[in-house]
Amino acid sequence: MANYWALERISERGSNLSAQLGKPEFKKLQLRLMAYCTRVFLELGIGGGDSIISGVALSPEDFVGNVLADYALGKIKHHSSKGSLVTILGTALRNDVIDALRRKSHEREGSWSASEEENHSDGASSKTRTGIHDGTASDVLAVLDEDSYRERVRKALAGEPDLVEVVDAVLEFNAMKPEEIAEIIDITAAEVQNRKKRLRRRLVTYGLVHVDEKKAGS
């Protein structure tokens, strides 16, 4: 029994020590990045956490796994001068998603046969590549089109006046920092952070894409 408590104390000390030494906690990183990547997928109109970018067959979980593997293998380095670890990995993740979309649209262009091109020019709405139905495929520049992005965000949040205030401050007044947003809508920076948290929740719970689809279908 004495041995058990001694071991437990050592194990606790070890875990406190790794927190003190600033060792990365992979489980926590994975959860935060997974939530972030799901959000990126929804924002860009790809779909929710269970969606994949067809053509490259990668899901949010794959992107997070790849980024964490790159970090664990030393391919992505973290220097505190460049920001927190989660920010650096999050940025890498976001760029990877956009690169995958770009890769997908290049591959699709390259792999279309003459007859497929013909079908496409005839107005066929579904594009296929190596047999995968690509219902969400859109050109990467269309995904990154600012006007469509604004429209998607506005439509999705139309029923939430206090969230719309934040959206207006960002989209109309170009206020990016919480303090700038707070000044425009006359609330505290802490309240801005609370509303952003609600925006994230709404985005992940309902999804900009799904809201779009519902409205289109109704």
Binding site: L31, G74, T87, V170, M176, V204
Partner: protein
């Protein structure tokens, strides 16, 4: 108006996104857990699959008899699933603690399953034939004991 290049468009959307929804740093572990759980993600399975993914990377080093990068080693040790046999006493303790924590968490959830409306018991045994008065009294006792137990859990909620 000049058309934006891909990089410019990407940077602009990234800035808008950060302005609207915050940076990755703004998502705390607790918030991430809530969002993912609500989205139906099994967090334990998610960690297990990352372990498998990183384990495959480590296998390449073992095959080539090369030293595993320190961060990869840390990641594998942290993510090692509870179902895998422990390699040391410390790991055994960690696994045991996680299992107990999980059971305690589940037990805490029982309170939230009890409805807040007054509790009514279906007393079908009252109409049952062949049940003596003595049996009914015993069943009544069980019923009231169960009711007071559930009410005390509900009060603690």
């Amino acid at each position: 108006m000049r058309k934006r290049t891909l990089e410019e468009a990407r940077n602009r959307i990234n800035r808008l996104s950060e302005g609207l929804f915050g940076s990755p740093e703004d998502i705390t572990t607790e918030e991430a857990e809530t969002l993912l759980t609500e989205a139906g993600v099994d967090l334990e399975r998610l960690h297990d699959r990352l372990y498998e993914r990183l384990h495959k990377e480590a296998e390449r080093f073992w095959t080539e008899r090369k030293e595993i990068p320190a961060l990869l080693k840390d990641a594998l040790s942290e993510l090692r699933p509870l179902s895998v046999n422990p390699r040391s006493d410390a790991e055994l303790i960690r696994q045991a603690r996680s299992n107990v924590d999980r059971i305690v968490e589940k037990a805490k959830m029982i309170g939230s399953l009890i409805p807040s409306a007054p509790l009514h018991f279906a007393e079908s045994y009252r109409n049952k034939k062949g049940v003596t008065q003595q049996d009914r009294e015993k069943l009544d006792k069980v019923r009231s004991a169960l009711k007071s137990k559930l009410e005390s859990i509900r009060e603690k909620k």
